[in-house]
């Protein structure tokens, strides 16, 4: 009886015969359940998407392996050559065998995964921040819309790979000088990917913000006198989270592929710096002799992208209220 019905609601005087007063709230079973945020519903729906769950599990497993892998495998064995154990097949000591310089492939895969995933995540984060910022500004402030959308068009019209290549060409040296090789190139690649991939997010976010701006709760906030910046942070941003999340998943995938494409074109990390793209690139000549060398990094890239795509798919479904149902 904790949630007995509203004491203050007037009860029609002469209708005492018709109107019940105590038993009513019981008709609302949903209200008796524990407070749940909408994310629980999303999670519920997400859980029912088998592909997405499998994808999430695989992705987390890979992330786990890559993050905690160094506890079990000596990463040095993937970096240092070992002439006594060249071109070994799979064995207990080397689960994925060794490469032509006797480096443990498993350790290399883990080391490569750390970089690839870090690049994927950071580049995605950067592109999301940029995309969201521009999308929200353009969508919410009518005056900024024109210029910002032209700006977005501009970036969309610039062909990306060349732009990326030019960026790498231009900034490689200054960044390397400023931050050291690995950090410098990491920053460069993350920035290059991030800066060239925010436009889709911006467009989606802008579209959503435009629609959101017309929603009554934004009007309600204005009628309260909430200033624009708080309307944006309090009412608009949380509500564009779902398209952003979907963009995020796809963004990781694209970033990982772009990084490997850059490595493939010889513009990514230095050759001795394993990333999945670089490993794949190195392994390709040996595809017939030692198929595993190209297969494992290729499979890792594909698997991550695949699982993330499935997660994105599931998220999209879960975040779509029409599908989520009521």
């Amino acid at each position: 009886m904790t949630d007995a019905r509203d004491p203050d609601t007037p009860v029609g005087g002469d209708m005492a015969t018709v109107v019940a007063s105590a038993a009513v709230a019981g008709a609302e079973p949903i209200l008796l359940t524990r407070a749940r945020s909408q994310w629980w519903d999303v999670w519920d729906q997400f859980r029912s998407h088998k592909g997405a769950m499998a994808g999430a599990a695989i992705f987390l497993a890979i992330v786990g392996l890559v993050v905690f892998g160094p506890l079990f495998v000596d990463l040095e064995s993937g970096i240092k050559s070992n002439m006594r154990s060249r071109n070994l097949g799979a064995s207990l000591a080397h689960p994925l065998g060794t490469d032509r310089l006797g480096r443990d492939m498993f350790a290399r895969m883990i080391a490569g995964g750390r970089v690839s995933l870090a690049v994927g995540l950071t580049a995605m984060a950067l592109s999301l921040v940029l995309g969201t910022l521009i999308g929200v500004l353009a969508g919410y402030f009518k005056r900024l819309d024109g210029p910002l959308m032209r700006f977005t068009d501009l970036f969309l019209a610039l062909p990306l790979l060349p732009l990326l290549l030019v960026m790498v060409l231009l900034f490689r040296e200054p960044l390397t000088a400023a931050f050291g090789v690995e950090t410098g190139i990491f920053i460069l690649i993350v920035a290059a990917i991030g800066v060239t991939s925010w436009m889709q997010t911006a467009r989606i976010v802008r579209g959503d913000v435009l629609a959101l701006k017309e929603r009554e709760f934004v009007l309600a906030a204005r009628s309260i006198g909430t200033p624009s910046r708080r309307i944006v942070t309090r009412h608009v941003l949380p509500n564009v989270l779902s398209p952003i999340m979907v963009s995020a998943t796809l963004g990781i995938a694209t970033a990982i592929i772009t990084e490997s494409a850059l490595s493939f074109l010889g513009l990514g990390f230095p050759p001795d710096f394993p990333t999945w793209g670089r490993l794949l690139n190195d392994g390709v000549p040996y595809l017939e002799l030692y198929p595993g060398r190209a297969f494992w990094p290729g499979a890792a890239i594909s698997l991550v992208v695949l699982s993330i795509n499935y997660v994105g798919d599931g998220l999209r479904d879960a975040l779509d209220p029409r599908i989520r149902g009521r």
Binding site: M83, R100, L101, G266, D272, D282, P285, Y286
Partner: protein, 549 residues
């Protein structure tokens, strides 16, 4: 070879160069790909055969002191052009063309890539239509540089007359379709893609070439090229398959083609930069400002060399196609110095050298330093699987003795492209050390040994053309080389050459790694291939034919 018949009887031959030629004018590009593609069309007066012996090509005999072709004072050489030679367009080939070629390449505005060949030449005279007299600035004991070998072929005066000097680079049509005396003429040239050629109807030999057409495809990578010849049989000839030995072996099991190996003077080496490549110095100064912060210290470069396990490099990188060498000039054998020894790796020795010289790791970061200068190096090379393995191994060895090494690889077409606009060419050398292979045409190393002269340093002033890529500069060396260039007696020449070799290597000009054979592949059905490491690989393409038809 008993293969005879009419010209063009064997249809088409397909040649695959995984570096795509961007021009057919070898004077405008230093790249082997361009020189060799051009060798199908334009020819020099004399070539070197597969044994390294000079052969008359557009002349009847090789001029020597004995036959009077070379003057006693070694100041001139007289070439007698074979009478009746015609260009592919039917016009006669005359001494004027030869003279024109000299003028073309020596025009200061033309930016000729083969300038070194004409360096000793004072003037070229044409007493008559078929006689060419080359006068040297000083006594030149080895006079077969100008107009000999694939890198200095003859251009047609009529065609290039208006393309001299500054205009050289705007003559697109001419540069893409030069008229030559060679077995083939260009039908179509697609930059960086494919060249279609057909047999030269005015070629001087009856019944040659056997092929009516050449499909010269460029681009891709060595691995795809090897595959296309040995595994799928799509191409007849693939050039310079620099691949790991096991990959080559695996490809050969495809059964469509065979590899051919030849050892010329090609040496895979690490060049040590004698100038300061610090990016802070600005793009054009950094490779001319001397000296390098530490690389000229004998302890440093000796240690670097000691730390390298060359036999292992040969084994994993080249297998059959490689030998350990410590020399700049490993071939011909008469010029191969035996004074230096380097086949033993000695990490401890290297460390000791550095310790003794005062390079110690005082701040504990694993990198030695002296006077505040850390032993940090950028090590660049072209993108190529074997080179990346070498980089990796060498980097480890060097790091073991206390260097910090950053690796960098650059696409081959840029690295070797010689494009003055690119910062990533071997000539610019914006790195501390770089690794590549180099060689010389012909059997005499004089001009090659002239590479390290102080005057050959590539710099903005000479638009980065010049062989002294390490910016090595040593008076004694220059003097000794001058002596070589005055000496005619063969034994004496060999002695001086070896001495130069030793002086250069032991003074830190470079660290030789592997004496490399050239490994190319041709289809089993392609006959007549004689791998020539002393000249263009395609030197005898006129004799190629199709087997078993």
């Amino acid at each position: 070879e008993g293969h005879e018949g009419e010209r063009g009887r064997d249809g088409e031959v397909s040649i695959l160069y995984w570096q795509a030629p961007s021009t057919m004018n070898p004077f405008l590009s230093g790249g082997t790909k361009d020189v060799e593609a051009a060798s199908l069309v334009v020819e020099p007066l004399a070539r070197f055969d597969e044994t390294g012996t000079i052969q008359p090509w557009l002349v009847d005999e090789i001029p020597t002191v004995e036959n009077g072709g070379v003057s006693e004072d070694l100041m001139s050489i007289t070439w007698k052009i074979t009478p009746g030679l015609v260009w592919s367009d039917g016009t006669p080939f005359t001494s004027a063309d030869v003279q024109f070629t000299y003028e073309y390449c020596t025009d200061p505005e033309g930016g000729c890539a083969q300038g070194a060949k004409f360096e000793p030449v004072e003037s070229v005279e044409t007493p008559d239509e078929l006689t060419v007299v080359v006068n040297f600035k000083e006594p030149t004991p080895y006079p077969y540089t100008a107009f000999a070998g694939g890198e200095s072929p003859i251009l047609q005066k009529a065609q290039f007359e208006n393309c001299k000097g500054a205009a050289a680079s705007t003559c697109t049509e001419e540069n893409f379709n030069p008229i030559g005396t060679g077995p083939f003429v260009v039908d179509e040239f697609k930059t960086n893609d494919v060249i279609t050629l057909s047999a030269n109807p005015n070629f001087r030999f009856e019944g040659k070439p056997a092929f009516a057409k050449v499909n010269f495809k460029g681009g891709g990578d060595a691995e795809a090229a090897g595959r296309a010849v040995m595994q799928t049989g799509e191409f007849d000839y693939a050039w310079n398959l620099q691949l790991a030995p096991e990959v080559i072996a695996q490809m050969e099991t495809g059964g469509m083609g065979t590899t051919v190996v030849g050892f010329g003077p090609l040496v895979e080496r690490i060049e040590l930069n004698h100038t300061n490549p610090d990016p802070a110095l600005g793009p054009d100064e950094r490779s001319v400002i001397r000296p390098h912060p530490f690389l000229q210290d004998p302890a440093v470069y000796k240690a670097l060399s000691l730390a390298i396990d060359r036999p292992l490099l040969v084994e994993i990188g080249y297998g059959q196609a490689g030998k350990v060498t410590c020399n700049l000039v490993p071939a011909p054998e008469a010029f191969n110095s035996s004074a230096l020894e380097c086949s033993e790796q000695d990490i401890e020795g290297a460390k000791k050298l550095l310790d003794d010289a005062g390079y110690v790791d005082s701040d504990g970061d694993g990198v030695r330093e002296k006077d505040g200068v850390e032993l940090r190096m950028l090590y660049q090379t072209s993108t190529n699987a074997v080179r990346q393995d070498f980089q990796q191994l060498i980097k480890e060895w060097w790091e073991e003795i206390g260097f910090a090494v950053e690796l960098r690889n650059i696409s081959g077409s840029v690295f070797f492209g010689g494009d003055a606009g690119s910062p990533d060419t071997i000539q610019k050398f914006y790195a501390d050390v770089e690794m590549y292979a180099n060689t010389f045409n012909g059997t005499d190393p004089q001009s090659y040994l002239g590479g390290p002269l102080c005057s050959k340093i590539p710099s903005p002033e000479n638009q980065w053309q010049g062989e002294n890529i390490p910016r090595f500069c040593m008076e004694e060396y220059d003097e000794l080389w001058a002596e070589l260039s005055r000496t005619a007696a063969p034994e004496e020449r060999q002695r001086i050459a070896k001495e130069l070799n030793d002086m250069y290597v032991s003074n830190g000009g470079q660290i030789p790694l592997v004496h490399r054979g050239r490994l190319s592949a041709h289809a089993n059905s392609l006959g007549g291939v004689k791998l020539n490491v002393w000249d263009s690989e395609l030197w005898n393409v006129a004799d190629w034919y199709r087997i078993g038809e």
